[in-house]
Amino acid sequence: MANYNTMELMICTAARELEDGASVGVGTGAPCAAAMLAQKTKSPNLVILFEAGGAAPLIPEMPISVGDSRTTWKALMASSMAEIMETACRGQLDYTFLGGAQIDMYGNLNSTRIGNDHQKPKVRFPGSGGANDFGSFCWRMMVMTPQDPKRFTEKCSYVTTPGWLEGGDSRAKSGLPLGAGPYKIITNMAVMDFEPTSKRMRIIAVNPGYSEKDVQDNCGFELLKAPKIAENPGPSETELSILRDQIDPYRYVIGR
């Protein structure tokens, strides 16, 4: 078995979700690495979009900002914030990767604050940025994050970006566009999806070296389990060498 760290594992797992010809809205860091890996392996025609306006670049090295020059290197279009977000509004953006300080069983995300006083929060985070936008409009929202019981919480102290809200049909009733929502949660321990009726998070695959119990023990709420739980294959030698040699040679992301 190849030697790899959990960040490499998550990036390789995420990259396999992005099929050729699909479009994906990404931020910097791990999501960008996953999209670049997909483009250099099975999905050469993956359309990568950055919220600041970069559209379909051939990214030469990891961008530091979603608006820096790397996001339009040999791109098809250098556009605007509104143009990229409206691509998602119209229904032309398939995937996005988001993250947050907290996630609950319906995939709702908190990237705004901890504490209850909004004007004087205990801890302030950056806020939505483009997350609420991408999370509302992209057909399939994914999260890539290390798993621990504090982050995977019973209730977010603030919902920045919508998951399936309170489950069931609550998201559709809220007024958010129909058919879009959380799709898969990729962690260092497992891959989760959402049970179709209740919209609750459920384990569908565990990573090498982890058990279903490990996954549940590192989650602050009860996870459902798919009828058949697969073992998620680890990264291949090819994936690892592309990731290490071509995508992130300075280990900005995979060295974390």
Binding site: S69, G130, N132, P162, G175
Partner: protein, 330 residues
């Protein structure tokens, strides 16, 4: 249209389109030189309590020289659009220049981490905050540009982002679909850095435009800095390239490397060492004070700031880095 739900966030600017039209009616359309200095432009056009919008994307094509001058002149009680705000927000937070923020993205510098000082300022209770998203602030500018007082959107609903915003939900009179409405955002002052401009303020940029098309048109006053001046003949030779017409612009200053330490597309890359140093010194109040004295309070302008941080040799390395030239990484 009956309002179904509404957020509790305060709306810091007046969305009234008729009042804005009356203002723009009297904004000069005279083709005269707008050339001035950064110091004079900030003295004349940025008043304590004004609401400010900043072009670019946090650390990309930002009006750094103007932001430093606002801190140097000690402007206070500003309102601020926290639209894709990163290093720009960090600069103004260093001088506690604002006390009201429309937050979409604030206090972070993306992959570089969070600003300890900006974070502390936002946790202090000294700043009133309403929540939005990057796209919703972009469409609030669009509404203002179009001379209407609101714009419908389909996100934010169902979340605390809506609850702490100033948005309202209604039913579409055509389809019955539920929408959130966000109010037009007319800023008192817009600050934008561009690649090229003529002396009248006709401006060109290269690369992505973020929300600058709309910020330029919806701001009541607009201060523009440019990498270099070009002739009016050159603008007229290629009108397709004009992003901002002169009648939106109040003040224009040629500031080469004006986005430093930020990235300027097809010109120079961001100075990651300097940005890292900035984040590091913020952890120690004494070090941070000395850093600000060295880089903002103790310098007279952007040229001196650049001189103190490596001067033209550094700028040349950042130019090489922008184009990924071999050997430029050292």
């Amino acid at each position: 249209m009956d309002v179904i739900e509404q957020g509790v966030g305060r709306i810091f600017t007046d969305p009234d389109a008729d009042k804005a039209r009356e203002f723009f009616r009297h904004k000069s359309r005279a083709l005269v030189s707008k050339l001035t200095t950064v110091k004079e432009a900030v003295e004349k056009y940025v008043k304590d309590g004004d609401y400010v919008s900043i072009g670019g994307f946090g650390v990309n094509r930002i009006p750094a020289a103007v932001l430093h001058e606002i801190v140097r002149q000690g402007k206070k009680n500003l309102g601020l659009a926290g639209h894709t705000a990163t290093h720009d927000f960090q600069i103004l937070a260093s001088g506690k220049c604002f006390n009201k923020v429309d937050a979409a993205y604030i206090i972070g510098l993306e992959a570089r981490g969070l600003s300890p000082n900006a974070r502390q300022y936002m946790e202090s209770g000294e700043v009133e905050v309403s929540e939005w998203t990057n796209y919703t602030l972009a469409v609030r500018y669009k509404a203002a540009c179009a001379g209407v007082s609101f714009h419908p959107i389909r996100n934010m609903m169902g979340t605390d982002t809506f609850k702490y915003s100033g948005a309202k939900t209604v039913k579409c009179p055509f389809t019955g679909t539920k929408y959130a409405l966000v109010p037009a955002l007319y800023s008192d002052v817009g600050l934008i850095h561009v690649h090229e401009a003529d002396i009248y303020g006709n401006c060109r940029t290269k690369g992505i435009i973020m929300s600058d098309y709309d910020i330029a048109r919806s701001s009541k006053k607009l201060i523009v800095t440019c990498e270099r001046l070009i002739t009016n003949d050159e603008i007229r030779r290629d009108p397709t390239s004009t992003l901002i017409p002169y009648w939106c612009v109040d003040a224009l200053i040629e500031v080469p490397y004006g986005s430093y330490p930020g990235n300027m597309y097809a010109e120079y890359f961001s100075d990651e060492d300097h940005l890292r140093e900035w984040l590091k010194v913020e952890k120690d109040p004494e070090e941070f004070k000395a850093f600000l004295d060295k880089n903002i309070y103790g310098v007279k302008d952007h040229f001196e700031y650049i001189e103190r941080n490596g001067g033209i040799a550094k700028m040349n390395r950042l130019r090489q880095k922008e184009w990924l030239f071999v050997g430029a990484r050292a």
